[in-house]
Symmetry: C2
Subunit: 350 residues, 2 copies
Amino acid sequence: MAPQDTGTEGHTEPHGKVTITEIARQAGVSVPTVSRVVNGRSDVSPATRARVEELLRLHGYRKRPPAVTTRSAALLDLVFNDLGSPWAVEIIRGVEEVAHQAGVGTVVSAIHGRSGDAREWMRNLRARASDGVILVTSALDPTLHEQLRILGVPLVVVDPTGTYADGVPVIGAANWSGGLAATEHLLALGHRRIGLIAGPPRLLCSRARYDGYRAALEAAGVPVDESLVVPGDFQSESGFTGCNALLDLPDPPTAVFAASDRMALGAVEALRRRGLRVPEEVSVVGFDDLPEVRWSAPPLTTVRQPLADMGKLAVRTVLRLAHDEHPDAPRVELGTELVVRSSTAPPARS
Amino acid sequence: MAPQDTGTEGHTEPHGKVTITEIARQAGVSVPTVSRVVNGRSDVSPATRARVEELLRLHGYRKRPPAVTTRSAALLDLVFNDLGSPWAVEIIRGVEEVAHQAGVGTVVSAIHGRSGDAREWMRNLRARASDGVILVTSALDPTLHEQLRILGVPLVVVDPTGTYADGVPVIGAANWSGGLAATEHLLALGHRRIGLIAGPPRLLCSRARYDGYRAALEAAGVPVDESLVVPGDFQSESGFTGCNALLDLPDPPTAVFAASDRMALGAVEALRRRGLRVPEEVSVVGFDDLPEVRWSAPPLTTVRQPLADMGKLAVRTVLRLAHDEHPDAPRVELGTELVVRSSTAPPARS
C-alpha cells in the first residue's frame, strides 16, 4: 500500500508568523474573539468560529508555548473513543510502558464520540499543557485535529481499523495479510467451504481482511462463493447471528473465519447451541488475539494484532514529533501473526 | 464488618508546624539531607533515610504545596501493579468517567511490583504535581505510602482482593456476600455436591468468598466436605487444574464455584476436554463478571464485582481528601450481585 501524502499542513513546520491582530482584521472581528477561538472557548458563534479557524488554518497559525511552566514532567494524552473497546487495555499497556521509560505520564481519556466530551477534553488538554496526543479511533474529528494543529500539539493516530487520516501519522495493522493467513490455514487443513463473517464495510480493515480471504481462496483455486460471506459489526452478537445464517445454508461451510475475536466467540456459542462441536465438526478462526481467547472453550485459533506494539510505536512517534523530527513514514502497518490453538482441525468426513 | 480505625496519622490534618531544620537537628544530619529525603532523592543512605522518615512521621510533617503553578488543570494518578489484570480496564472506565466530569485528567501507570518502577513513578508524580493517587493493588508498599503522606498527596486504595491498609481509605467489594449468593444459587437448583476452586489463601477476599460458600452450605444443612475445596490463584490455568482434581474424585461434584471468572473459564475448558457438557452435566459459577464472560461458551453465571463503580467512588473519595474533607468511612465495600446466565442448571439425574 503506498504511503499517503502528508500534505502541506506541516505539524513540524516552524511557528507561523501571522499575528492574531492580522487574523482579526481579515475576519472582521475583534482580537479577543480570535483569542477565544484559539483558546477553544465556547462563547463564539459557530459561523464566526468557522471563519476564524479557516483563516488560522490558511495562515498556518500556531499558538506559542507558554513562556514559563513549573510542571517539569512531560505528559501525553491517550484518547479513546470508548474504553469499552476490547483493544483498549492492550494499547494502554504498550503506551504506558514506553512513556514510563521516557519519564512521561500517560493521561487516559474517553470522548465517547460526543462533541461535548471532546470539547471538555480539549479544554483540559490545554490547561495541563499536553506534550502530545495519541488518538485511538477509526473516525478522526476534523475540528479536533485542527485545534490540536493550532495549539502545536503533535498528534498520532492508532487505528486498528485502518482508516486514513489526512496529514496525520497513522499506526495500523497488516489486515490484508492477516485475512490471507487465516484463510490459508483453513485451506491447508483441507477445508474448501470456508465462511466469512466480515466486519463493517465502511471500515477499510474489513475490506482488507475480506480481500485477504479472497486472495487465499483464489490462490488455492477455490472459487469464491458470495453466499458464504455474511456481514457483522465486530461484536459477539453479530458473530452469533452471522454463524447461524451460515449454518442455515443448504450447503453450510465446514469452517468459519470471523473478522474479529468477539464475532468468533459469538460463532462458537451459536455452534454450541446447535450441538456442533468445535473443531471436530466446524472450525473457527478469529482476528485480534484478545487475552480472553486463550481460555475460551476451546482456546481460539486467531490472527494476532500487535496492539501493545502499536501503542509503543505511537509513543515513539509522538515524542519524535514533539522534538520537531519527522516520523519514519506517515503510515505504518505492523505485521499480524497467525496463532494456532484448538478451534481448528481438518474437516469432518461427510 | 466493622470499619477500621483510621489511626492518628491524619491525611486531612492541617500542615504540620515542624520545620526541616528541627528535623535535621533531631536526626543529627544536615538540612540538605532532610530535604533530599523529603524530595525522594536516592543519594541518602538507607539508615539515614529511615531515621529521618521516622521523625517526619512522628511530627506529622507535610510538604507545603508550591506557591505558584501554571498548570491549571487537576491531575490524578491511577496506579496499577499490572495493567494485565482483568480488572484494569473496568476500573479505568469508572475512574475516567468521574474524573472527566470533574475536569480532572487521569494519569494511568503500572509499577509491576518493581521498586525501581515505583521510585521512577514517584519522581514523575512529584514533577507533575499530582492532586491525588488511586492505587489498585492488594499489596501496599509502606514506603510509597509514607512518601505520599509526606508530600501531602491524598491516597485511596481500590482493592478488589480485600487486603487492609493502615490509615488509608480502601474501597473493596462484598466478597463474603458474593460467595454466599453463588453457592445459594447452586443449592436452589438442587446441587448438594458443590466444589470450590478457591483463591490464594493469603488474600482476604479468598477467605471471604470461601466463608460465604461455607455459610450457604451450613444454612442449607449440607455438610461441608473439605475434599471438594481445591486451591487456585485466580488464573485460568489453576481453574483448569483445580477442576480436573475435582473430577478425579471418587464422588465428583455436580457443580463448581470458581472464585474468579478466569478460573471458571479454565474449569469450563477442563470439562469440555473430558466431553462433559456445561451446564447439562456439570454447572459452573464464576466471580467478577468480566466483559468477556457474557460470550463464553456457554455464557457464564457469575458474581458481579462493581469494578467501574469502585473506580468512581475512589475518585470522589480522593477529591474529598484533596479538599481536606474526611471520607465517608475508612473502608467501603460495594455490593456484589449474582448474574445468572447459561452455565448453571439443575444437576443431571444420576
